[in-house]
Symmetry: C2
């Protein structure tokens, strides 16, 4: 691809922004110092952004500041924001993408507003019944893509089939050397399990299964999400949201109790000296910052939502995700998948 | 209570039975050697059971063997089993309960068959719209009750209200010194979140909330199930099943990676010597055997399903659960709750 990868960054959204977002940009530039195949379009008040770039000692001809006078507040409701958010850093970023000047947008700001604005400005793809939020989820064999994580709390079989097409395209763009293996989240792995809607979706996915687009593995239960047998997990937004947050809560609970056990007395504290590097590796692997960023799929262009409360390193991972998604030709992978799905239908 | 707590034990169900179940009985008798307020009715082939009791050196006048010639196989479908399961250890145990000779039944056998047989023999309580499977789930403050874990994959608001009545009664019977605090599992904690069905259920639970039966805390998200703010978590059987299994899968994933880290080299292995007791405590707290046993609620008598693959210690915990539930007067707590719910409705 000779055209540069162009990323629209809402520098003002989320806690501790723009310090966080600018520091994340510094990390991204440092890690990619050998490359010049990208442009970072930074949206926010020009004076503030310039000062922060100076503060973090960033000098790069790969940065392009685009002045935006205001910011979407965290308290704003989507309906109100649609009227009042024009010329905010978030709105301008998405518009930059609509105008073809950016390939992808990223924000750590107000989630509800970001979803509504993105959908309003970029519009849904004609071939898609509902857009979805996809996320990364660690597994024994690497990384899974899971969707929907909460954009649609009620779904039909067509939505789930679309999510499979979108999710496997995302997986392919992120991991070009691996093959997407799709599974439907259910309460059992036998054919007779689940709602009628799930059974219909399962039958349709089996008809679509092929080596080129994605292979369908059937149902998966909650305890097998991370087993690595499948790498694209499909579910409705209610179940996906509950599953993701339950996993987060469980991880937090375990780590908290582990920490408590390992620091409760002198002997266990001494043991920490010996296991420091091993435990650090363990902690690194589970670092939630590495999985930061939900990808809004199904619009005429991808939008990445970073956690509002995440730090600069977490935001950097989301920024890196944006770069990889575009490098991996997400939109063309999506179009290929949807074309296949339509041809099987006809 | 002068009447003895009478427990019907299907000794033949699950892996390694009856060795497992008889060994569990031995643990239970040892731990309760000072008590004589219970009777264990053991269902299985009399000769086999007698031999196993000898093998494990169990001599007790609190055991009552009831001969049952056959066993429900794990491969049997519920529909087929209904016809062919008469005189199995499972069938006889539930019938013993119907006849008023046992207060509760426990089995580690075929789940589907146990649910169908229990419902057929014991029948649903008149006041309940659907029975539910409840489980224990660790939290920062002790233990939660969560239901439904998979008996009903589609639910309406009346079902969820019933689950709240049943679940808070179970919580009260298990933890008589604590007050049940009910929450509805949802994708956000704000009033506007979730499906219309959930909003209706939430409104009804708020109307029923009181200090005597249960206090309603509103919505809870997946990451707050274990926070301890609420201790009775209500959801439909699809979401509950996915959440429980996702939590199990996450815990397994973390512990597996922790083990790998702590044994990867000599230094980390040495550290294990120092942290042995601390890690053992940590492991004990998270031991899944302690949470073994799903309680089938809403019938004219409770039935406990133990994991088929669990060992004797895990089965012992389920047996202990049976004892506590009856000691805590579960059925009268349920009736009190349902009466209250009806009076508010009228």
């Amino acid at each position: 691809m000779s055209k540069k990868i162009s990323i629209a960054i809402d520098a003002m959204g989320g806690d501790n922004s723009p310090d966080k977002t600018i520091e994340a940009i510094k990390i991204f530039l440092d890690k990619n110092s050998s490359k010049d195949d990208f442009i970072l379009n930074v949206f926010g008040k020009e004076e503030i952004i310039s000062n922060k770039l100076k503060k973090y000692n960033i000098k790069s001809n790969l940065i392009n500041i685009i002045n935006s006078d205001t910011v979407v507040s965290d308290e704003e409701t989507p309906m109100k924001a649609v009227k009042s958010s024009k010329n905010t850093s978030m709105w301008n970023a998405i518009h930059h993408q609509l105008d073809g000047k950016s390939d992808i947008s990223i924000s750590a700001g107000n989630t509800g507003v970001l979803l509504v604005i993105s959908r309003m400005i970029l519009k849904m793809m004609n071939e898609v019944s509902k857009p979805a939020l996809a996320g990364l989820w660690p597994s024994q064999n690497g990384m899974n893509v899971v969707l929907d994580l909460g954009a649609n709390i009620e779904c039909n079989d067509q939505n789930l089939v679309d999510f499979a097409e979108l999710g496997s395209a995302l997986f392919k763009s992120l991991f070009p050397n691996e093959n997407p293996k799709v599974a439907l989240l259910n309460v059992g792995s036998e054919e007779i399990k689940g709602t009628e809607m799930l059974k219909t979706a399962s039958k349709r996915l089996r008809d679509l299964s092929n080596e080129k687009n994605f292979v369908y593995n059937g149902y998966v239960e909650g305890n097998d999400i991370m087993s690595g047998k499948s790498n694209v997990i499909i579910t409705d937004g209610f179940t996906g949201n509950v599953a993701l947050k339950t996993a987060e809560g469980t991880a937090k609970f375990i780590i908290k109790n582990l920490k408590k056990s390992l620091t409760e007395n002198l002997i266990s504290k001494i043991s920490l000296l010996f296991s420091y590097f091993s435990l650090k590796k363990f902690k690194d692997k589970l670092d939630p910052r590495k999985y930061n960023g939900a990808i809004f799929l199904g619009l005429n262009g991808p939008v990445v939502k970073s956690h509002g409360g995440i730090d600069a390193i977490g935001f950097y991972y989301s920024l890196d995700l944006c770069y990889k998604i575009i490098k991996g030709n997400l939109m063309s992978e999506i179009k290929k998948n949807l074309k296949h799905s339509r041809s099987v239908k006809e």
